[in-house]
């Protein structure tokens, strides 16, 4: 971590970058927040540990409009989003100096009992340990690092950075599950079971829009659900199948653009597994139109803005 | 409306209205000269609901069910199926009075084509 701070300071001092986009210490070990640092002094509060899950690519949209370059620290999975945003002309590559940071898996504080944590030992970077020692208000406990990881780290797309100016730090492969297993499990359910599952999950939705606002693909200047152009009075929620329209359309709008960064599921206050929507589309796209990973190749044709004359017909695989 | 003509249409699945009277069925038929009612005329009999004449005709038993007419008909009318259905109607009318398999050998003569025999056996076994 000191290496990151050191490097950031020297880039700031040399004037190569005007600011640094990274993570800042919070009140506790886990409540790190994304932050811009303008001076070496401010960088004293820089932190990079197992709780730095936030995907900073999204903040680069705004940073691209500012004078000068921004040094941004990107984890391997964040670089997919960065690329995708470059592809869509939302980020100016020239305005970013990217340090690709290593990743050994990111943690979900909730899995450690976030509301009672006083301290966590072993979540640092690069020196994290296999077992986290958690001190809570109500006693101490040990949790395997693996067991506290975000869902997305278990199905990690790999620790290769897709875009960077330099790389710092080592990574550990954390992938130990099939990315599409959950989707396949739901696909195998009966329609009634599927409906019951999603109804229970979506009924929790409070339409706080955290999933949308954290999503690098959902970075429309004005979301159609906020705009009057579609007559979509989506501020009120419904009682039958709450917020389905919002979540289906949101997933549809990011289909072929979603890099599966998993931020939506990370931030949902109600713990709705929102990645199941996006991953369903990714699975279908891979199956029907060939493997496609958004954010890998800036020049690749996106699956929903291209076609083949012998594409599958709608409803293929039904009944 | 003659029930029998409806029955024939139903059994055969033939729509006589499709016929454009080109005669290709009769031109293709190997038993043409044996027949009193010619293949291209079958549809007219069904359309005119003159099923009686059709079921009484020699043609009924002269059709070899070779289905050349079915194959070659440009309009998909399939006169061979019509005659097949006419036989079926007759058989249903006769009910138990029909020939039994045992009675057949006595009625055979050398000129009866083998295919007709096979066709006949097929019907009688039902």
């Amino acid at each position: 971590m000191q290496e990151l701070i050191h490097r950031a300071k020297s880039l700031l001092e040399s004037g190569e970058v005007s600011r640094v986009l990274g993570w800042k210490k919070g009140e506790n070990v886990f409540d790190v927040e994304p932050a811009f640092f303008a001076t070496a002094e401010e960088l004293e509060n820089f932190v990079y540990n197992g709780f730095c899950g936030a995907n900073l690519s999204k903040y680069m949209i705004e940073a691209s409009t500012w004078e000068g370059k921004t040094l941004v620290f990107l984890k391997p999975c964040d670089t997919y989003s960065f690329n995708q945003l470059c592809k869509e002309h939302r980020i100016d590559r020239e305005k970013a100096y990217i340090i690709g940071v290593g990743c050994k898996g990111k943690l979900k504080a909730e899995k450690l009992g976030a509301e009672n944590i006083l301290d966590v030992q072993g979540a640092g970077y690069p020196d994290c340990s296999d077992t986290l020692k958690v001190t809570t208000l109500y006693g101490e406990q040990e949790v395997a690092y693996k067991d506290a990881m975000l869902e997305r780290c278990h199905v990690c797309k790999g620790k290769e950075h897709q875009v960077y100016d330099e790389l710092i730090g080592e990574s550990v492969d954390t992938c130990d599950a099939d990315r599409f297993a959950e989707v396949a499990k739901i696909e195998a359910m009966s329609p009634e079971e599927k409906f019951a599952f999603f109804q229970a999950e979506l009924s929790k939705c409070i339409r706080c829009n955290a999933c949308r606002n954290v999503c690098p693909a959902c970075s429309c200047r004005k979301c159609i659900f906020d705009s009057t152009k579609f007559d979509s009075n989506q501020k009120a929620n419904t009682t039958s199948f709450e917020e389905k329209m919002f979540h289906i359309i949101r997933a549809f709008h990011v289909a072929g653009r979603c890099t599966d960064c998993g931020e939506c599921s990370r931030v949902c206050p109600q713990g709705i597994p929102l990645h199941l929507f996006n991953r369903k589309f990714i699975k279908d796209i891979n199956n029907l139109y060939g493997e496609y990973q958004a954010g890998v190749d800036i020049d690749a044709k996106a699956p929903l803005t291209s076609f083949r004359t012998d594409d599958a017909e709608p409803g293929v695989g039904r009944g | 409306m003659s029930k029998q003509s409806e029955l024939i249409k139903e059994i055969s699945g033939v729509n006589p209205l499709k016929c454009m009277k080109c005669g290709k069925c009769s031109a293709s038929c190997p038993s043409f000269n044996e027949m009193d009612i010619k293949p291209h005329q079958f549809v007219s009999y069904v359309q005119n609901e003159d099923i009686e004449a059709l079921t009484q005709s020699k043609s009924l038993w002269k059709c070899l069910s070779c289905f050349a007419c079915v194959e070659r008909c440009p309009r998909g009318v399939k006169p061979g199926k019509l005659i097949d259905a006419a036989r079926q109607v007759l058989i249903r009318q006769r009910g138990q009075e029909g020939l039994t398999a045992n009675e057949i050998p006595a009625l055979l003569d050398d000129e009866t084509p083998q295919q007709l025999l096979m066709s006949a056996f097929r019907k009688y076994r039902r």
């Binding site: 409009t65 869509e88 002309h89 939302r90 970075s219 429309c220 200047r221 004005k222 979301c223 159609i224 705009s227 152009k229 579609f230 007559d231 709008h253 990011v254 044709k301 996106a302 929903l304 803005t305 291209s306 | 499709k18 454009m20 009277k21 080109c22 005669g23 290709k24 069925c25 009769s26 031109a27 293709s28 038929c29 043409f32 000269n33 010619k38 291209h40 005329q41 050349a68 070659r72 440009p74 309009r75 998909g76």
Partner: protein
Amino acid sequence: MQKIGVFVCHCGSNIAATVDVKKVVEMAAKEQGVFHAEDYPYMCSEAGQSRIAAAVKEKGLTGIVVCSCSPRMHEATFRKAAERAGINPYMVEIANIREHCSWIHKDMTEATEKAVILMRAAVAKVHLNAPLMAGESRVTKRALVIGGGIAGIQTAIDIADAGYKVDIVEKTPSIGGRMSQLDKTFPTLDCSACILTPKMVEAASHENITIHTWSEVEKVSGFVGNFTVDIRKKARYVNMDKCTGCGVCQEKCPSKKPLNEFNRGLNTRTAIYTPFAQAIPNVPVIDANSCIKLKTGKCGICEKFCQVGAIDYTQKDEIITEQYGAIVVATGFDTIKLDKYGEYAYNESKDVITSLELERIMNAAGPTKGHLERLSDGKAPKEIVFIQCVGSRCSDDRGKPYCSKICCMYTAKHAMLIRDKYPDTNVTVFYIDVRTPGKNFDEFYRRAVEDYGVHYIKGQVGKVMPQADGSLLVQGVDLLDNKQILKKADMVVLATAIEPNPDVRKIATMLTASIDTNNFLTEAHPKLRPVESPTAGVFLSGVCQGPKDIPETVAQAGAAAVKVIGLLAKDKLKTNPCTAKSDELLCNGCSQCANVCPYGAITYEEKLINDHGIRRTSRVAVVNGALCQGCGACTVTCPSGAMDLQGFSNRQILAEVDAICR
């Protein structure tokens, strides 16, 4: 807030017999924003249109809903009426209560309910309609004719005579098309070449006509008035400018195996060849697939003998790009393949031939130098049987469901010519019907029967059986005699069905012109616009639109030319205002819309945006209204809803959905 008038048409009894029009009027009057509702027997009539105008004036209407027949029928009529009445033509919406309602439903209550809902949907849409202004686009004063047969030649000459430049693209080495393969023409028995070659020469020498033979259309973009076309000029390996057409190269060419396409493969030609003597241009091409030099690098005989040094083995295909205001499709036809008709033994016997092959046999320049001979043994046939409707009027997948139209007449012609030239030859024609609607057509047919003794038998042939002695046994039926006929013949001629040139599908796709299930190009209207394609700026000439004979083809060619001339005579065209439009306040500049636009109508600009007082410079999409054709692909790709389609906006369609589902 719109003031809407609803006008319900009875269409005589077409609508009124099934839909309670009074009820529709009554319900319309209750709709929000509807200030006027009335019904009338024929809304499209002069009187009906006047009522609309009167209501607009009297009630100050701003929007109009006409409940009538399909908008495909009279939308334009009512838009014009609205314009005359002083409101924007795009403030009119049609509720289709005839084709989509009265004609398909029998129950009056049910049909009326549906008509009311369709009316409501149209009213809901009009509430959100906005006046649209047609833009203008320039017209390139040059036409392209695809296909150099008689249809293409005639169209080109007519357009050129009116003073406009025309290019003909022909994929074979020479213009002339099918007609150049014919011997004589019915019902006058003119020599085909004698009437065609002057036309070919006229086209070739016309100062306004450029002919690209041995060329194919590669790519078409743009729109009416402004097409951009890539033409592939295939390598000819002969320099057009140097060649004198002396023909020595063809005499000397050692590769003599390739089948002669012009003679329908009945004989062979050399690798370097001109398809026929009167070819235009009279410059040979080298068939790269059979040229020894091009295949193995050894030979070069033609080059050696060419006194002007016109042979150039290094030629490559060349793509030229041209601008056109209008495109005429004149791609013609071919005969169908007879592989599925085993009963006629076409593939078994050389003496079973198609009528087009007979044309070549009868032609003095053909494989038999014009002598009527059996191709198997060269003997003169004494018994000839013609079979009509081979593959025509056939509802299964072996043939075509339509009548090929020309066979009855050319068979009569063939029969007559044979009987005339070879009186000792018997000619029998098996027919289903003899169809002779045309000037002097039936007279012609009767002459064949009465004056030339052609034996017409009503009935079909079931089977043609080649015999060991080389003859053909024809089993047919005489339906009038009710007799089966077994006839020995020396030659059987099949009146084979014609089908559109197989290339037409590819061309139609490039032109975005629609084709029907038989691959014939579709007209904009089967009766009223028979020579126009539904795609603006694309016109139809000849058999590509449907079977026709030479006079009809020439007539249609002329008609297509007139339509082209009418188009090229304009300096500017009004463009469809129902185009996409980007809201720069919402646009993300992500380029997804541009990726799906088939017309390249979307570009991006860095623009200073004032968003309610907040200023920023942003990359935003800009739609070129002249290029946009209004498909709407971009609108769905746009996640922020910045891209919308005028005339079919998101809110308009949602309003229709709401009205139907309420």
